[in-house]
Assembly symmetry: C2
Homo-oligomer: 225 residues x 2
């Protein structure tokens, strides 16, 4: 983590970009505007041409930062998990009881992001929407092995491992800590998507964050002795 313009910033694996977007004004504009545009248009209708118009630059200039739009999405998602990891660290700092540590982590993994949580120069509220609606496109394709070799999923894996290791500490006999954590993460994203678009596939409860409540309750039950 390095400080940048008075705000937190995360180090992202170099394989995902051709030139570090945080190293120039144009790069930072690319990140900002791509978050706005992907959130607005959806990743499928998002193009480098539209992005270039948005920031009054050219397609060719954007291609100097990212090989393609797939890698740009991968960058944004990596950023998101590094930010979540940072929040996991904050949420478990100076807490000894593993049960409490785990509860706090589940809270971080499942809660809805609001403006006041943002710490970096990117818009984390929009970024969470992008993660919910688009992030699985980063791995659901035939390039997943190559991207994995290039470290595109390291930030995600680090988050899963961090929480799984608390579970292992609490319950060394539990056989599926990673499966539990990735189920919670992917499940949260799906349930939020369903709440917004296909509510009959989930349970929407007035005045309650049902997603948060469900996964919290459910983790406790599963780890009960």
């Amino acid at each position: 983590m390095q400080d940048f313009q008075n705000r937190i910033s995360f180090r992202i694996n170099e394989n995902v970009f051709l030139k570090d977007p945080l190293s120039s004004d144009l790069g930072k504009k690319i990140i900002r505007a791509s978050i706005d545009l992907i959130e607005e248009l959806g990743f499928d209708d998002f193009t480098f041409k539209k992005l270039a118009t948005e920031i009054s630059s050219t397609e060719a200039s954007i291609y100097r930062y990212f090989e393609n739009k797939h890698n740009l999405l991968a960058y944004l998602v990596m950023w998101y998990w590094r930010w979540i990891e940072y929040r996991l660290i904050m949420a478990t700092m100076n807490i000894d009881d593993p049960k409490k540590r785990l509860d706090n982590c589940i809270q971080v993994l499942t809660e809805k992001v609001t403006e006041d949580m943002t710490v970096s120069q990117v818009n984390e509220v929009k970024l969470q929407s992008i993660v919910i609606e688009e992030s699985s496109k980063v791995y659901l394709n035939k390039k997943v092995a190559e991207d994995n070799r290039h470290g595109f999923f390291v930030p995600y894996k680090d988050v899963v491992h961090r929480v799984a290791s608390i579970i292992e500490e609490m319950r060394p006999d539990f056989k599926y800590p990673h499966m539990l954590v990735s189920t919670i993460i992917e499940g949260t994203n799906h349930q939020r998507f369903f709440t917004n678009h296909l509510p009959r596939l989930t349970n929407v409860i007035d005045g309650e964050d049902a997603v948060c409540a469900f996964y919290g309750e459910f983790t406790n039950k599963i780890l009960e002795k």
Copy 2:
């Protein structure tokens, strides 16, 4: 359900196709070959041109059956859930104990499909791979509201409701039956994908179907009083 060529066949909502692919030889070839090709190339690299070459026909002919490749994928996924529903019906027939009914359903939802389970003219083994790797692309896009209005998700919702209603019968006070079922379904697909491509995000256990075991165990725990 209608019988066709000595094999079971499912009725699929007409909005998804322009002409029923089961009504002609060419249509059936389109379905068969598209399953082979999507499984082989992945949905992103799959095109109607390649499909046309594969079946010695033309792009224009395929467009007479499906408006676009998105709707063809939606058709295949709808077929899959109709098949799963059929298997849920078989697995709960003549069983009175709701607990046992639920256990059988979870088994159907989480088990890996093998050749001997196939009942229809489509290759359900390949179809399950497609559902695991591609099905979320049917709803993860900006057309989801329109597709939902056209009934593209009815087979999926029917499966979720069928299983959720057993849970409601067992535990009328449980607040999240739909969330639980869709978490199991989506979770299973993710965990199978992770097992194949990103094993550090899950737990792979030798000589055990960990996915099946995890979601079975976990459902019991959550519904325990």
